[in-house]
């Protein structure tokens, strides 16, 4: 009985405290940047490296003296991979923390849910998600930017490479989430334009444990290659199934494949798998004169030293998003409108994802050249020419 009463009391207390609590006072000379990241939930494989990256960058920037003597504070909110939570997090960041810009969210859906809020609050958002609708139509997305490459760019890179090798009939297999769906749409959209025929179109769930059926169907349909579009454990399972079926046709992955972890998990099944990847994972194989090399090297080594793991493509997205905001503040000061205008005007800025060229018509600023076609050989990446 007593426990019951104290629990009731305790809960009331927590709620009362929550209602009347004011945000912790930050030193007046810090610049507050918000971040909405899928730290938990189904998209947490994106959120984990993103969050780590943001924390690392914040500390590095502050240790180096901040921006014009002012420290930055990146306030990270967990969206739990849920649109409703993302909306709440944005409201909190905008109103309680008065951030001047927001980095993230991690997924396309969450980013889309924030579009009206950011436009109403007249605050820039630099998303870490790839979906084309995040920044298009640009007319309705005045305050929205994104750093990951377009799915269509990745598809273009794959198709171009395939055509060089005489592949025209393909089977696609995509994960039934926003990521896979966006890839599927890009694959379908570009196929007729680039002379590709999709002979089989298969799907699987994010937690499925065997995709042999789908791959068998693709093979039976007479495809010359398989393209898998997914993130998370699914692409490893597909790779293993592809290997054990001895399909005799090459397997291509999306840019979601870009983590050494995937090679480790798939083991020797990963040998020969091809994917369009940003240069982050293959920085050590770039020529020293490549404009991205120095930056990639520093990011990758710092991250590895700190977290004992790889930042991967997704950590890179967070890097690019935050650095765009930081560069803007360095240049024009902490003013929302000026930051927006600066980001829109970014030209030839090297990032982890590629070399950014933003414009009033393009709030992403990357194209096919952001990718290298990379094959797995002897458990390591190798750039295909």
């Amino acid at each position: 009985m007593n426990l019951k009463r104290s629990l009731l009391l305790g809960m009331t207390g927590v709620f009362a405290a929550g209602l009347f609590a004011t945000t912790a006072l930050a030193a007046p000379d810090t610049i507050k940047i918000g971040a909405i990241i899928s730290v938990t939930g189904p998209a947490s494989f994106l959120g984990e490296p993103e969050k780590n990256t943001l924390v690392m960058l914040q500390d590095q920037i502050n240790k180096a003296g901040g921006i014009k003597g002012k420290n930055i504070q990146v306030i990270i909110e967990d969206s739990k991979s849920d649109e409703t939570q993302a909306v709440l997090a944005a409201k909190k960041l905008l109103e309680k923390d008065n951030v001047i810009a927001i980095v993230g969210p991690s997924t396309t859906g969450e980013s889309m849910a924030l579009v009206p809020i950011m436009n109403a609050a007249k605050t820039p958002l630099v998303s870490c998600a790839a979906g084309a609708p995040i920044t298009n139509p640009v007319g309705d997305r005045e305050w929205i930017f994104k750093t990951p490459q377009y799915d269509t760019s990745a598809v273009e890179a794959i198709y171009t490479y395939m055509k060089k090798h005489g592949i025209t009939k393909i089977g696609i297999i995509t994960i039934s989430t926003g990521f896979g769906d966006a890839g599927k749409k890009a694959l379908q959209e570009l196929a007729p334009k680039m002379g590709m025929t999709i002979v089989a179109d298969e799907k699987y769930g994010p937690k499925d444990s065997d995709m042999t059926t789908q791959l068998t169907k693709i093979k039976a349909a007479g495809a010359q290659a398989v393209i898998n579009w997914s993130v998370g454990p699914g692409q490893v399972v597909v790779t293993k199934n592809w290997h054990s079926l001895k399909m005799g046709i090459p397997l291509y992955h999306s840019h979601g494949w870009g983590s050494k972890k995937n090679i480790e998990l798939a083991g020797k099944a990963a040998e020969g798998v091809i994917a369009p990847l940003g240069r982050l994972v293959v920085w050590d194989k770039l020529s020293d004169t490549h404009p991205q090399k120095a930056l990639l090297k520093k990011f990758e080594t710092d991250y590895k030293a700190l977290y004992k793991s790889e930042p991967g493509t997704f950590g890179g997205h967070a890097y690019d998003s935050l650095m765009m905001v930081v560069e803007a503040i360095k240049a024009v000061g902490p003013d929302k409108k000026k930051i927006r205008d600066y980001v829109e005007g970014i030209k030839k800025m090297p990032g982890t994802g590629g070399i950014y060229n933003m414009s009033a018509k393009d709030h992403c600023g990357l194209d096919m050249s952001a990718f290298e076609m990379v094959i797995v050989k002897n458990g390591d990446w190798e750039i295909l020419k």
Partner: protein, 295 residues
């Protein structure tokens, strides 16, 4: 054509074996308590992740690692029963089920802390090329999973039919009050059922991880599918869950193969609903028995 069909069948068997193993775990607890333990999926995850920890991180030999994993999972089951189910005594069943859901959220939190969000895997029990039957391939590990499932069935059968404790547990399943009257320690039965089902779950996790990989949040999906398997076979029927699991796995695979892979989950569920419509207590359950239970 036949090769393709056979390949679909093998894929269905692989997936079905996973569901079957999870479904069996549900039945053990259901039989002695009428509770559906929604944290059953987490037991499987614990099995896979701890096995990874012991083999890849601590580098223990296979059997020692497996033994430790199963024991640890049993301990988790024991703790869960002692800390959350026992204090509730004979509360409303719905409440108990919600508690198991809350515990599963808690367990996922702990697992996320310990293991992060990455998927894990380790080498299959036996290395080597997959077997080929009439042109269709089946992974060695799939055979292991089916074998482990069979072993579990046999061992549970022996336990429930030949040992005193097992018989006591079956008595509890039929009539708790009567079991109490004849001097069976019901609370111990409940505890053992949690331990046992956690262990079966962990065994499942150990077996399936080389195939499907394992990550901290795979539990709910496994629980839902296993639950469906148990229901389809008729709750409380050990072999029912196994057949239910394989049935759902094969249904999914055939739907993906001959209809559309995007619809495989939906079609499997529709068929399950249809089965429930004609047999409201599952394929092997008896309506009369299910009426005796309130839940």
């Amino acid at each position: 054509m036949f090769t393709v069909f056979l390949q679909f069948l093998f894929s269905g068997l692989t997936v079905g074996a996973v569901y079957a193993l999870v479904g069996m775990g549900f039945n053990i607890i259901y039989n002695s308590t009428s509770i559906i333990n929604m944290a059953q999926g987490e037991f499987v995850v614990i099995g896979g992740l701890l096995m990874w920890f012991f083999t890849e991180s601590v580098k223990l030999p296979f059997f020692l690692a497996a033994g430790l994993t199963i024991l640890s999972a049993g301990l988790v089951g024991l703790l869960m029963e002692r800390l959350t189910i026992r204090p509730l005594k004979s509360a409303d069943l719905l409440l108990m089920i919600m508690v198991t859901i809350a515990v599963s959220i808690l367990m996922r939190g702990v697992l996320m802390f310990k293991f992060g969000k990455d998927p894990y895997t380790y080498a299959p029990f036996t290395e080597g090329e997959p077997f080929t039957v009439a042109g269709a391939v089946i992974q060695q590990q799939t055979l292991w999973v089916i074998g482990v499932t069979a072993c579990c069935i046999v061992m549970l059968y022996i336990f429930f039919n030949k040992t005193m404790m097992g018989k006591a547990m079956r008595a509890c399943a039929v009539d708790t009050t009567a079991a109490k009257l004849v001097g069976i320690n019901v609370s111990r039965v409940v505890m053992i059922s949690f331990v046992l089902s956690a262990m079966v779950g962990a065994i499942g996790g150990i077996a399936i991880t080389p195939i499907s990989l394992m990550e901290y949040d795979k539990g709910p999906m496994l629980a839902v599918k296993g639950f469906c398997a148990a229901i389809m076979g008729g709750l409380g029927r050990g072999r029912g869950a196994v057949i239910g699991g394989f049935a759902i796995g094969i249904l999914e695979s055939m739907t993906a193969g001959y209809l559309h892979s995007g619809m495989k989950d939906a079609v499997a569920l529709v068929i399950m609903l249809a089965i429930l419509f004609f047999r409201p207590a599952g394929l092997f359950g008896s309506v009369a028995m299910s009426r005796l239970r309130k839940f």
